[in-house]
Symmetry: C2
DNA sequence: TTATATTAAATTGTGTACAATCTAATTATA
DNA sequence: TATAATTAGATTGTACACAATTTAATATAA
């Protein structure tokens, strides 16, 4: 009895092109982020900080889909660079509050160039970008609803 | 003069949901792949091997968007597990040929369960999956055309 | 209230990823 | 054909990512 293995073909996967596309696009951020002395992970942390000014590690992790094992060293690095400050919450000492520093606020203007340059790397029409965005968040929202 | 920072909002990015979705979906493969004694990276290598039986590291890297720095240790691990064999090409000793082993071929039947289970993790309609797939490969093909 | 359970970060260990460099084999060229 | 250039993998160093565990703080319950 011959089995049908089509479902195991690389070209029939959804996860693989997601994974490859994500990696390749992140790789294209690196030369742009180097000018800001940021890695991609540090950059998405700073995007949250630019919007919120202050947040604890748990909330940050939920927003970015990252756990403390990843965030702890990244946040220590960002503090060393002077972009953020870390301090325990007075109300609940278990919480670590992350605060954007002056140097981090100043970085925002320089960062404006990044999305401009990155958009040149993606050859999708605006409506295709919107459709992709919508589909990705449909999946991500579903993932969140499962927890 | 107030600047508009909307382009730096997390919710306006395309890369971030790609990155998060890819990570979360790969994470959902792990318990399924554990039964096959594979990691996700090892799994996508095996998907190529099931289709091709034989390939060299360079071609494999081009298919998977991975370089030798990543592949070398992964392929050594797969050889240790007995799923593949590594041998230098007789025609050109620079090339390393990867060959699927008996144990690797046998793994294919067990792997058939993986895409079935994974499809339950993704709440997209079939036509949405197709659209997403198409958009991702449009980007990936463009990336390839740049090199 | 004291013991138990829960929670938030940090730590530890394993496995990618990739830039940069190195080494050996092959190819191209003066 | 000797030398230079190129190519394929391997190696090294840095930075995630996450499961599992630990630690300290807080909340809950007997």
């Amino acid at each position: 009895m011959n089995k049908n293995y089509d479902s195991l073909k690389l070209e029939n996967q959804l996860c693989f092109p997601l994974y490859a596309c994500s990696k390749e696009l992140v790789r294209r951020y690196q030369p742009l982020l180097q000018k800001l002395d940021l890695t991609y992970t540090q950059y998405i942390v700073m995007m949250v900080m630019w919007e919120q000014k202050e947040i604890n590690v748990k909330s940050l992790g939920e927003k970015l889909f990252l756990d403390s094992g990843t965030l702890t060293p990244v946040l220590k690095k960002l503090e060393t660079k002077g972009y953020i400050n870390r301090s325990r919450s007075k109300e609940d000492e278990r919480n670590l509050n992350i605060c954007i520093a002056e140097k981090g606020i100043a970085l925002r203007d320089k960062a404006l160039e990044v999305p401009i340059e990155i958009s040149k790397c993606v050859n999708l029409a605006p409506e295709e970008v919107i459709a992709m965005h919508k589909g990705l968040y449909k999946i991500l929202d579903y993932f969140k609803s499962e927890e």
